[in-house]
Each structure stands twice: as C-alpha cells, then as structure tokens.
C-alpha cells in the first residue's frame, strides 16, 4: 500500500467515517462558521479524502481554521461528518511531527486570545489520551 493510500486509510480509521456515504448536499459547508476562512471547504474535505489527496488537506489552511464546533457533525444527514475528517487530518499532522500528545504544560504559551475555547477543548479531547 502506498503512503498516500495509507494516509487515506488512516484518516478513515481515525475518523471512523466512510466518505462514500456522502451525497454531496453541502449541509456541512452551509453550517460551517469558519467557511469563509477556509481554502478547502468542509464538503470538499470529503471529496479530498475520497480522492485520496490527504497531502492537500494536511497543507490546507482549513485544517487549522476548523473550530471543531461540530455543527457539520451534528447536521450531516448521511453520517459522514466532515468535522471528524478534519480532526483526523490534524491527528495525522500531529503524528507526523511525532507528537502524539499535547501536554497541559504547553498550553499557556500556546494560548492565544483568538483561539476559541472549543478548539482547546476539542484539541485536548483528541491529543490527551
């Protein structure tokens, strides 16, 4: 299995999402509060995973613009949940950097008043296992 493929599989596995279930309705993008900040829109995330282009996702701005508000997860009618895919792509980046864990000690200096509280909570949920 190629690295590319491997990454796709990883995203699918981490997120538990089957991107083939997507019916391309766009409700995720319609729900997304960060839509305008994103270069790859939430609904496109799904097709990027379908097309196995994780590299582009990993290098996208969107990855870090997602607030993890989970509006898309909540509203997706097909159980595809782009928010989870984004989260999974982040996880891949973190893993590539060899940092599977985020330590609470690192938080204060990373803290930026612009960062929404929810992102922190979400990041913690993900990386503090």
């Amino acid at each position: 299995m190629s690295t590319l493929n491997n990454q796709t599989e990883q995203v699918k596995e981490i997120s538990g999402v089957n991107p083939l279930k997507c019916m391309k309705c766009g409700k995720c993008s319609a729900s997304c509060p960060s839509f305008n900040e994103m270069d790859i829109k939430p609904h496109q995330f799904v097709s990027y995973v379908q097309n196995e282009d994780i590299e582009a996702l990993v290098n996208s701005k969107s990855l870090w613009k997602c607030l993890s508000c989970f509006a898309c997860v909540e509203r997706c009618p097909r159980d595809v949940k782009p928010g989870k895919l984004i989260d999974a792509a982040r996880q891949i980046v973190i893993r590539q950097k060899g940092q599977d864990y985020l330590s609470p000690n690192e938080i204060p200096e990373l803290l930026d008043p612009e960062i929404p509280q929810q992102l922190l909570v979400s990041a913690f949920r993900r990386y503090r296992r």
Binding site: C25, G26, K27, S29, A30, S31, R75, P77
Partner: protein, 662 residues
Amino acid sequence: MQRIGVFVCHCGTNIAATVDVAKVAEMALNEQGVVHAEDYQYMCSEAGQAKIQAAIKEKNLTGIVVCSCSPRMHETTFREAAERAGLNPYMVEIANIREHCSWIHKDVEEATKKAVILMRAAVAKVNLNAPLKPGESRVTKRALVIGGGIAGIQTALDIADAGYKVDIVEKTPSIGGRMSQLDKTFPTLDCSACILTPKMVEVNKHENVTIYTYSEVEKVSGFVGDFTVDIRKKARSVDMDKCTGCGVCQEKCPSKKTLSEFNRGLNTRSAIYTPFAQAIPNVPVIDRDSCMKFQTGKCGVCSKVCQAGAIDYEQQDEIITEKYGAIVVATGFDMIKLDNYDEYAYSQSPDVITSLELERVMNAAGPTKGHLERLSDGKAPKEMVFIQCVGSRCSDDRGKSYCSKICCMYTAKHAMLIRDKYPDVNVTVFYIDVRTPGKNFDEFYRRAVEDYGVNYIKGQVGKVIPQPDGKLLVRGVDLIDNKQILKEADMVVLAAAIEPNPDVRKIATMLTASIDTNNFLTEAHAKLRPVESPTAGIFLSGVCQGPKDIPETVSQAGAAAVKAIGLLAKDKLMTNPCTAHSDELMCNGCSQCANVCPYGAISYEVKEINDHGVRETRRVAVVNNALCQGCGACTVTCPSGAMDLQGFSNRQILAEVDAICR
C-alpha cells in the same frame, strides 16, 4: 418405495458454468429411490418440461427432484408440469443449485460437491413426500378498502365498477385524504379539488360502495377469500340519516379553539365540524375532547339550533362485522415531525412552514383565503426560500433513508405558482439533486427555472436564524460557486419527508401483511408483484407501499383493484395443502398448539378415539385446514409430536438434515 426422477438444469451457463451438471445427474443415480436422472439446458422451457413429463410416464415416477433455480422462481412451473403428466404436484421438490450454489461459488469442484449435497437433501425429502390435495375455500364477493384518500377512492371505484361490493373505511370524518388538502397539482397545475371532488361524489353515489368514515378497522380474522373484519364506527354524535348538512351547528358552536387538522393546525375549527366544505359525507362530527357539552355538560347549542334534530349526544361507537374476500390497504402518508430539525427553526418561527402547510396557505379555502402571507404578521413576503430533502435521504435516525419522491416536483410547482401570482417575490430553492423522472416532469421543472426565474441553488441550508425584526436569516451554501450564502428571507418552506401513516403498523399486524423498517408495506415481488402483499388476499394501493405522486398512486390503485377483482371473480380458491395435521392417537389435548397458532386454526373436540381397538373419549386438537397457513409453530410446541406439518414434516426435515450432514 418411491421411484424418483432427478432433473438437473443447466440454466444456460448460469448453472452449468460453475456446476458439473452431468456429474450431479450421475451422482443422483446412487441415491435411494432414484431411477432416472438427466440434465438439460433449460428445464423450465417447453422442451425441458416435456422431458420431465416423458420420464414421469415412461419410468412411472412417483416423485421428482428438479435441480435448478430457486423454488420461489419455478416451483409452480414444475409442479404444474408434473401434474399434467399425472403426478401429484406435491411430489416435486426443488434443489436450489443456482441462487444458493452456482451464482455464489466460483470453484467448479466445490460448487459441484455442494450441488450434489443439495440434490441429495431434496431426494431424501421427496422419498418421504406424500401426495397432497389442496382443499377449496369459498370467496366472499366483497372487498374492503382501508383508507379513503385518492388511492382508496380509485381502488373502490374500479372494484365497484366491475360489479363487486366495496366498503371503504376512513379514519377521519371525510374521505378525500391528502389530495383534498392540496391546492394545485403538478405538472398540469389543475386544481386538486376540481379533479378530486367529482371522484368523491362518484364513489359516494356508487351503488356498490359503502363508506364508513370516522371509522377504524379493529380486528381482522380469516384468510384470503374469507376475511372477517370488525369495523369500529366511532360515535359521530350526529345522526347521519337526519343531518341535512346545513352547517348551522358549526357556525353557532361556541367552542372554536381547536386547531384544524385539515388546515394543518394553521387555524382553528369548531368542536362540531366537517373537515372541509366539500367533505363527504357532508355530516359533521362532534370532537368530544373539545366539545363543552361533553367536557363540562353545559352547552348543547348545536342540538338547539339543529332543525333536523340530528344531534345525538348519547350516540355510542358501533362495531360492524363484515366478511370480505379481498382487502386493499390504502392508508397513505403524513409528513414527518420536524422536532429533530432545530436548525431550520420550524418550531421557533411561524414563518417556517412545511410544504403541505404552504398548500393550505395557497388554497382559497385555507387559513389565509389563498393569500400568500406570513403567518406571523400577515405581511406579504418578498423573499422566499425553499429547502429540499428535509428528513429525506438521511442515514441517521433524525430522518428517513429514502427519497420522498414528490418534493422536487411540488416545490417546482410552488415556486412557479408564487412567481406567477406574485412576480415581485423572489424564490430561492436549495436542493441536493433535482429528481424529475416522469412524463412532462423535467420540462415542468425547467419552466420554473427558465420561464419563471426561480433561483435554484445546488447546496443545502445549514441553519435558519429568526431575526429580531421578524426576518429569517438563512445560511446556506452554493456548491457550484463554492460560496456560503447568507440570505434574509420572509418565509422558509421545508420539503419535509413523507412517512407512512403511523397507524399502518397496527393494521399490517392485523392483516399479517409484512412491513419494512420504514413502515412501508412490503410487496410480494419488487418488480413482478408490486401491488400485492405477500399475504394472500391483501393488496396495496398508494403511498402505503412507497412514496409516489398522484398519477402513480392512481395507476397503482387501479392495478390493486384489478388484482382484487381477479380474486373476487373466482368462485373457489385452492388452499395450500401444506397445513398442520394432528395425529389424534398421539394428541394429549394440552392446548399448547392452540396457544401459538396465529390464525386460531386449532380447536379442540372431545371425541371417541379408537386406538388399536381401545376406545376412549378424550380431548384432541383439530386443525381447520382452511384457516391453517402452514407456519408450523404448533408442530414444535406440541410435546408429543402429534402435530406435524404436511409438506414440511419432521421426518422430511430430519431427512434433509441427515443428507446434508452425511
């Protein structure tokens, strides 16, 4: 000792490509009782059947095994062929070596081995088969239609026109159903009432049709050709014979605060009411839950004003018991509840409405007398947004997994009608796909876009946010432009998914008709028997079987009627001879079998039994072969093994088990 013939079908290459058919035939000759075996290209063909018949005659066969496709496909074919050659049709067994073997296995050796085992099991069974003779049962020449919407009306009319009696049972006070709530119909835009009302009148007048409105089916027993149904005619509190339908009672009724079901709760009605002006019968009912007379004992205005003296507060529910030969289910649909869709603000703003509510708003007899206006402040809207697929095509538990089928077309209709009547209103439709298969359907949709300037946006709405100024902020996405859209709308219309009438599960259980996970009734065959339930004598008409529009409903209603007529036209029916049979020498009379019989087919008789010369009077089970459908529940419950199922006897099944495990 049986003389068995085994016939192995190639089914072209369907079987022969994976199973060594000649080998199967050759191996068959080693089996007990087998005196003839051959293979042929198409056993079900004329020539194939002729081979079977020739062998039966020449070799004096007493039983045959056909190794072919599923018995669900050709069991009847081969049984009939055997019967024409003078062999009892129940001496035929099928070994399914296509669906259960050649089609799912690739390895020829493995598939052949399995086919041989399946053949052996069938031979083992047929060795124990006994000729069975179907019984006869009579057919009651009367049909019951459950549901008085367009589907039920059409079915009833068609059956009645063919000369058979039909009863319609309708739960609400009037027939007419959903169609009576619609304003205009696609793709011709003719008014719904204009085409429906004449049919309602026709069915009401028809000498062969009896209509029970405000009534429900309470109990069903019996079987195809001979159902017995209890119908509960709920107390109307109005004497149907005396009432002239003048309407004064409704006018004078002081209790006018109940939400109108017909207008989808958008306005109110009196406690004594007919759902709508063209109701049939044009006789009101008293809704006892909201009537002051019934709730407090004080009032009685309707009785005072009724010139005809038709008001009867003492009226009781009435149970009508009637026999029917066929039952057609036409229970229709409702919109799903939108409680789980907070993001569309349906419960927060009166200006977010469903499409069916919009039908009432647009209808001249509706709550706004047909004026398009916001229900919150009565103002004329300038911006309207339609959201498609609300609750349809959902794989989560908030909505329905299926496409509701009618929404694309009615939304195009709504959009077109609004743009036509109010050209200054902007109409935007958020859609996922626009699905318009149907005669003149896509043309209709294109007209909405091209001639009427309806703005179709490929994308969904994520949230509708009611603003302090009463506007609705719609946040959607345009997937083509890849832009998020923020739009202020005055009204939002939701194309909510449709679902089968919630009562249908109860009805299906009474009818022992199968139902799928979405509560749609299951058809006997998805393609070839789409209007019949797998339960004999039960037919399906309209949306109870699956989402469909009016033309489709009407054609299915006609088809269901034809099937029912075909049944009613018969004087006698052959009954399934594979029924349970109790050996009275062994029966304990313990009643366990009757406890599990779903058809009440088992009764007990106290009779004299001669057990090899010993006479004894005792209680034994007796199976009514006309009622027994052959499920076999009793056979397993019976502790002594006195109860056995013909065609699927204990010994036959054990022989199959032994043959497979050999």
